[in-house]
Amino acid sequence: MSNWIEVCPLDDIDEEDVMPFNHSEQTFAIYRCPKGEVFATSGLCTHERIHLADGLVMDDIIECPKHNGRFNYKSGKALGAPVCEHLKTFPTKVENDVIYLELQNL
């Protein structure tokens, strides 16, 4: 069973930027890549649990605002020290200019 959650209007996130999104005690980071497509990952860096949404998006990479851990936000892949644990990624879709995030029901 899957479950689509409404996040925000597409225009709320600039291209090549990121925004935080909280839902049922979980925090997510929602990205728009330079081409405009939307992606989502878990919201906290796997190094020191810092909110990634304060970080910098350049191309496909999110850089943690604190210790420069870098992840590919499309795949969740950690790109080297100080981060080694990957980010969880979540499916997204855009319908009528609104972003949705898919969460798996437990």
Binding site: E16, I50, H51, D54, G55, L56, M58, E63, P65, K66, H67, N68, A81, P82
Partner: protein, 411 residues
């Protein structure tokens, strides 16, 4: 014989070992470290190390992970001497280790004051410095709400400690000889915001204050040259650090405010490298020789040293980056202001600003910002890229909060 020997398992030593292994799956790698236990991260020691009741030092890598990578990790002994000619070190247990290439990553020690006519016992009881996990543990065991503590030096250690101890309901006084906090470290606009936060959180900062003497009975009595006297239950000295250069000096390596290395992190001996807090290096942008105490520089320099120890020809040419957390404020800076001609401040609110230094060619040299949480992180990261890419910038745009720094990068 091409074995790699590393002295010190701090950020630099560990990062070098891991980089060496990533680049060469066969080369023998050994780290020698005086402290027992896993290598750990130092930055939290002055922050959550003092505020989190359940704090445990966070390991950079565990002994088991090092073993998996076939990195020999010798702890609880120190290197007694280096014979650069014979390419051999002697350990405190008299064992000898040969090396093909050596990395000295011995870090720095906390500078302290000399307390005249003070017993070892009083020093042990009243006077602290903060550098290692055991220093942190000593301070933790001392902390009791309601105490009065004096912190000597309004540098990063003193100020981070002040914020952490205030969170423990300790009455904190910071003594600083200079006319403002972080005099040499950050621009005035940033220091002013930080000073205000300390004031609002009840930390007393006494500027232009020099200590005449300190005596101890059941308390520490600190007499200032102004004649004023302050009592404290204990005190922490945070007046900078001294690079641990003894081994290098005895081995005949060039020393200049730290072990002197070139942009390849190579010392005056071709088979010996140094990285991190212990070394001074020529900053690529200005050629100015500097020694920095920065978590990330230590890692970056170590990675460069490791590449060159394996015969590559890589230079360290990145802008150094640094951060501090105090109360709810985050401070970050990148680059070095040497050669600055045009200071530019971008005001972002009552407790946030970015300060830039630009040279005569309109290149960005440094940026320092402060704000709640990680508010200024993005702009510091963008500044870092502007500095590293030697981009020219517009002073008017830097000063204008509505202008996106990203657009300077893309032009």
């Amino acid at each position: 014989m091409n074995s790699m020997l590393i002295i010190g398992a701090g950020e630099a030593g560990v990062r070098a070992a891991i980089t060496l292994r990533e680049l060469d799956s066969n080369v023998p790698i050994t780290i020698v470290e005086t402290e027992k236990g896993d290598p750990y991260e130092r930055p939290p020691l002055s922050k959550t190390g003092l505020t989190d009741a359940l704090f445990e030092p966070k390991s950079i890598v565990t002994k088991a992970q090092l073993a998996e990578k076939h990195i020999q990790f010798i702890t609880g002994v120190f290197v007694a001497s280096i014979d650069a000619q014979a390419k051999q070190v002697t350990l405190s247990n008299h064992k000898k280790l040969m090396f093909g290439k050596l990395l000295i990553a011995t870090g720095a020690s906390a500078r302290t004051l000399s307390f005249a006519n003070t017993s070892e016992e009083d020093l042990e009881h009243f006077v602290f410095t903060l550098r290692t996990a055991s220093d942190c543990q000593r301070i933790r065991s001392k902390v009791l709400a309601g105490q009065k503590v004096v912190l000597i030096g309004a540098g990063f250690i003193g100020l981070e400690l002040a914020a952490s101890l205030r969170a423990q309901q300790i009455k904190v006084t910071v003594l600083e000889t200079q006319p403002r906090i972080l005099q040499r470290a950050v621009p005035e606009a940033v220091a002013r915001i930080l000073h205000k936060a300390h004031h609002q959180n009840g930390t007393e900062i006494k500027l232009n204050s020099s200590i005449e003497n300190v005596t101890f009975d059941h308390q520490a009595h600190i007499k200032l040259t102004s004649g004023k006297q302050i009592e404290a239950d204990w005190l922490v000295v945070g007046i900078g650090s001294i690079p641990n250069v003894n081994l290098a000096q005895q081995a005949g390596l060039a020393i200049e405010n730290g072990i002197k290395v070139d942009t390849h992190m190579q010392t005056s001996h071709k088979d010996i490298y140094a990285a991190g807090d212990v070394c001074s290096f020529p900053y690529a942008l200005t050629q100015q020789r500097v020694r920095l105490e920065s978590w990330r520089c230590a890692q970056e320099q170590a990675a460069i040293a490791a590449q060159n120890m394996l015969g590559n020809n890589t230079v360290y040419d990145l802008a150094p980056w640094f951060w501090s957390d105090q109360y709810d404020l985050g401070l970050q800076m990148v680059g070095l202001p040497e050669g600055a001609a045009h200071p530019v401040t971008r005001t972002l609110g009552t407790s946030s600003c970015l300060h830039f230094e630009v040279n005569d060619e309109n290149q960005l040299l440094s940026a320092c910002g402060i704000g709640v949480g990680n508010q200024i992180a993005k702009d510091i990261k963008l500044s870092e890229r502007l500095i590293n890419q030697r981009k020219t910038v517009s002073i008017e745009k830097l000063a204008d909060p509505s202008f996106k720094l990203k657009d300077l990068l893309k032009k």
